[in-house]
Symmetry: C2
């Protein structure tokens, strides 16, 4: 069964939990980010992105470039991700003024394109001769990829194709260089591959598909490519090691890979493209590689929060079962990329496990990346934070106790913005006769196959999901693995349907009311004993939400243990203050034990312990009340 998730659902208007987040992105993230791009945000490091494009335009026209290029070699991509987020937001919230702003930026970008189709402000401003000489670090293909994604999204949102044409011309330039002129290599940071697949779908141009296939299958074939490339040039961006093959997933041809390695964002961007091509071409060998890599991630290298890339060293995957809570890297962008990968895997194989992981990553790590007011962001998402150690100890410097403000290297904030704004394309999919509900999101969905429905739910805090069918057909709804029991009613009557690979299938007619009731009982979670960091530990989940225990609710968290099999009571679903921010959430209260501290470092006396209650909040809401202790995994007490 082939499903098209991405860009395939004709329209989705969300309300409820997701709608509230999408409004936050519209009202706060998108305007703030635009002010950053234009260097108009107060107290924020200079971005210069818009100025770079203006200056590149001058360079193309042979004019003087007064203030040159500023920023990272991949600075262009910030503009691209902003356009993409704005485009998805425009689908939900038409906004003439925002559209005009995007149009203006597209005009500036189009002027920066060289006559041969090349588009990258760093090289155009600084040194045209360096084009395509540093695929390892140069990020030219990466920046092109992000702008292609922006072009496709803006075309989808508005029908305007100016940027799409610019990027098709850019794709032609890349095609000429890599295919016609047979220059070897592929980008050190995968991204263009998945973007070219979107370009192929948006334009129908087969060269885009061919290029995506080419880059995917080139990777890792000449293991020493980057070393040879480095020998030929006398400059470097970061002095990256061209022999660190696994860092850029280039240690062997991708079809032979079995372990998720290297920089986690690069990895999942690559795997996303692999899964997309596998689905497009029915390429079973490529899908088998995707499946192995998926299992490597989800069975051996993923946090319970859907966080991936556990080590700060290279922002990378570590070895199997090396999943420390306190020194976790677990970059927000990596979990976003994991959602991309999961979404494409679903297109190959309708199996609830892909959607389970997609949801796990979204409701925990991706949402945790953003402060509840949309103004500050985590790159790094540890599962334990202890002020005094986290952010301070030499091995914990990256694990910050509160979200920092906008970074100069602003990859995660706009990535989160575009993901949230396009949530519907991950939640829903369709094929000729079926509408697939992978995730539960309040709102109205209209499929190209003619089906239309409205979903009402308070998910992830309410576990009733009601579908009001406006135009019928076949409906496939995922039953999450965590919901061991569930109920279904059709027009008020209970029906029995057994899920197949995590989905129930229903024939629905116009006017039907379908209600799915999932299991909202909070549950204890345990890790495999193969994970050293989790032995003797227990966590609490409710639905897709992982809970955590913060100092603000519990005082000292380090002295708390959770009682095995103890009661967990679920609080009211109410607006809750987080400092000055208010957020609608549900707390849980669990039976716990608190240990007295001792006045020495070690003791041979059994410590004194007393019964108490531990109050948990959803992990994604942590760190919104200033510096305090936070733990997901607590020791388990058996009495």
């Amino acid at each position: 069964m082939k499903i098209q998730n991405q860009t395939s659902v004709k329209a989705y208007k969300s309300g409820g939990f997701i709608g509230r987040y999408q409004k936050l992105v519209r009202d706060t993230v998108i305007p703030y980010q635009y002010s950053v791009l234009r260097d108009e945000a107060p107290d924020t490091e200079k971005s210069h992105v818009v100025k770079n494009f203006i200056n590149a335009g001058k360079a193309v026209r042979g004019e003087d470039v007064d203030d040159g290029f500023y920023g990272m070699v991949f600075q262009d991509s910030d503009a691209a991700k902003w356009i993409e987020a704005a485009a998805y937001s425009l689908i939900n919230f038409p906004d003439q003024k925002l559209e005009e702003t995007v149009d203006g930026l597209v005009d500036i970008i189009s002027e920066a394109q060289d006559t041969d189709g090349y588009l990258n402000t760093y090289y155009t401003i600084k040194d045209k001769d360096k084009r395509w000489t540093n695929l390892l670090e140069g990020h030219e293909l990466y920046c092109s990829g992000h702008m292609m994604e922006a072009a496709c999204a803006y075309f989808e949102a508005t029908g305007k194709d100016k940027l799409l044409k610019v990027m098709l011309k850019n794709a032609e330039h890349i095609y000429k260089h890599f295919i016609e002129e047979k220059n070897g290599g592929c980008g050190g940071h995968p991204e263009v591959e998945l973007a070219l697949m979107k370009m192929y779908r948006a334009t129908g141009d087969k060269r885009c598909l061919e290029l995506a296939e080419h880059f995917v299958d080139t990777r890792g074939c000449d293991v020493h490519f980057y070393e040879k490339e480095a020998e030929k040039r006398d400059w470097t961006v970061w002095n990256s090691n061209p022999s660190d093959y696994d860092y850029m997933q280039a240690g062997k041809p991708v079809r032979q890979q079995s372990d998720a390695t290297g920089h986690a964002v690069r990895a999942v961007y690559l795997y996303t493209a692999m899964a997309d091509i596998a689905s497009q071409n029915g390429d079973k060998e490529l899908f088998a590689a995707c499946r192995r890599l998926w299992e490597s991630i989800t069975k051996r290298r993923m946090y319970i929060t859907g966080g991936i890339g556990s080590t700060v060293i290279g922002e990378a995957f570590s070895v199997d079962y090396d999943l420390p809570s306190d020194t976790a890297y677990a970059e927000t962008c990596a979990s976003i990329g994991l959602m991309f990968f999961a979404s494409r895997m679903l297109e190959n194989d309708l199996d609830g496990e892909y959607a389970d992981v997609m949801e796990q990553a979204f409701y925990n790590t991706v949402l945790a990346g953003m402060q509840l007011d949309g103004k500050r962001f985590f790159y790094v998402n540890p599962l334990e934070v202890i002020p005094g150690i986290s952010g301070v100890s030499p091995t914990h410097r990256h694990d910050l106790p509160v979200r920092p403000k906008w970074y100069a290297c602003a990859c995660c904030p706009p990535n989160a913005a575009r993901l949230i704004a396009s949530f519907g394309s991950y939640a829903y999919g369709e094929n000729d006769d079926t509408l697939f509900c992978h995730m539960f999101a309040d709102g109205t969905v209209e499929a190209k196959n003619g089906m239309k429905l409205t979903c009402e739910t308070q998910y992830p805090y309410g576990f009733d999901v009601s579908y009001k069918i406006e135009k019928g057909g076949k409906l496939a709804v995922r039953i999450p693995k965590w919901s061991g029991k569930f109920g279904i009613t059709a027009n008020g009557c209970g029906i029995e349907v057994q899920p197949k690979k995590g989905y129930i299938f229903l024939d629905v007619s116009d006017g039907d009311a379908i209600k799915i009731t999932l299991d909202g009982t909070p549950k204890f979670a345990y890790g495999s004993v193969k994970v050293p960091a989790l032995t003797g530990k227990v966590a609490v989940m409710r639905g897709p939400l992982v809970y955590c225990f913060e100092g603000a609710d519990n005082g000292d968290v380090l002295s708390l243990s959770l009682r095995r099999g103890g009661d967990i009571t679920v609080g009211e679903h109410t607006e809750t203050p987080f400092g000055e921010i208010s957020h609608s959430t549900v707390k849980i209260t669990a039976d716990a034990v608190r240990r007295d501290d001792i006045d020495t470092l070690y003791t041979d006396s059994i410590p004194n312990e007393t019964s108490c209650k531990a109050v948990g909040i959803p992990y994604y809401t942590w760190g919104n009340r200033g510096e305090n202790q936070m733990r997901i995994w607590l020791p388990e007490s058996l009495v």
Copy 2:
């Protein structure tokens, strides 16, 4: 009460546990290390140490230096530490041939001394003009310090003063440069300070004391000294950061310091000198600083094994309570240095807590540093090792599951050798009328104050310690803090004596037989809840020995928990095979629980568990049976 521990006991001949280790050092470590110094050890990286001294001699005489200098900038210190170990060994085991070998090496070293007293092969061979221009990294004072220690030890062992005279001339050269010519600064790696104190005691030359005081009090006074020094030169050894003040304990004057910071070996070498000077001069301000630093280490920054310097980043102290078991650095040399510091603290203040820590460091981390056959060594002493992660994961590369062979940078093996060979000077101390027994060691002790006794004990495996008094006086014996109960008999009759600050005091006469019975009951140990890595965990100790649980005895260790309050049975004290090595040891067996693994990474089902036994071995014996799992701290099960 002032005690002189180091070099003050007239003679000590050990038997039992320590004697066996001292024979291992004599028979294996010292001969092997000498073959390394001469580049005669098979399959071992070139040392070139002896050749460096020969070549420096040629350079001094103006002859051609054919094969120049080879090795690290501190290569000379390997020869010094070997001479020092050989000297201590000669005290226990007179050996004409070894003494002749040392004499020959001393001749070579004396020829390498420049006419002005300068002695360092790196600079003498490579570039005399670079002398004293890189105190940050140059290790000139460090190498001088180690050779001074060697000179004092060899003089003590044999009465031969050739090397002592060489090093006194070297001290005069240093005195001229730093005191008379008023050149600023002190060594980036403290060491010469504690060595000058030994020189002062061996020679009575007050300039040695003055120099030691000068270097101690200079440190941290001009915070920017190393930066200014770096600006003046156009070369570097490792491109070290001169602004990383805390790394070399130079962030503020030592008398104002309160936190143990930076490279752990440097720190404790410095603190040792500070405590030595405080004792020598009755300097209460300096002792107060020592006390603060001691508490920083032992109350907040030390492993239960006496390991210190928890982070690999800079081989350094981290922040308070950051004591991860799996990524621990805990260098062998740092625990040796902690013993030096503890020994000097005892000279300031007879308090059992200093000896408790000295013993904790010795019987756990220091001994763990050496394979049971004396042939391989750990620098790094983690408290948890999981093959597949340890030594492999980017954050665990330094934590090796088995001891590597001799390193090019051979600091720990000779350091362990000299410590073991001189154990008696840490175990015993004296003043005018008292003999102090800080640690329990089988053997005969003769004090300069005329007292003489023989100690018989199977410690650390037997807990009866019998003293046969040959020449009486006052006897002070430490009662370890871990021994909550103890008994004393004098000539067979039980007597009641209450310890004062951890010591009992007895008047003993010729022929008296004193027997101390300590508590050998194995005990559970717990960490403060301020240590995140230890919450919910428990360990087992017996006497001074920390136990650990290895795969070789237990299969999968990660699935084991120890039952709270469960039985711990003590095995026989027998020769036990560790692979091809045999070692006399005692295993313990504890009530435990084994958890079944699950086939997923996470589950919401309470895991299946069954009762079992966990077998522990002393931590210092771990890693002698090939790669396998090892844990000191196990989760605690309460049922």
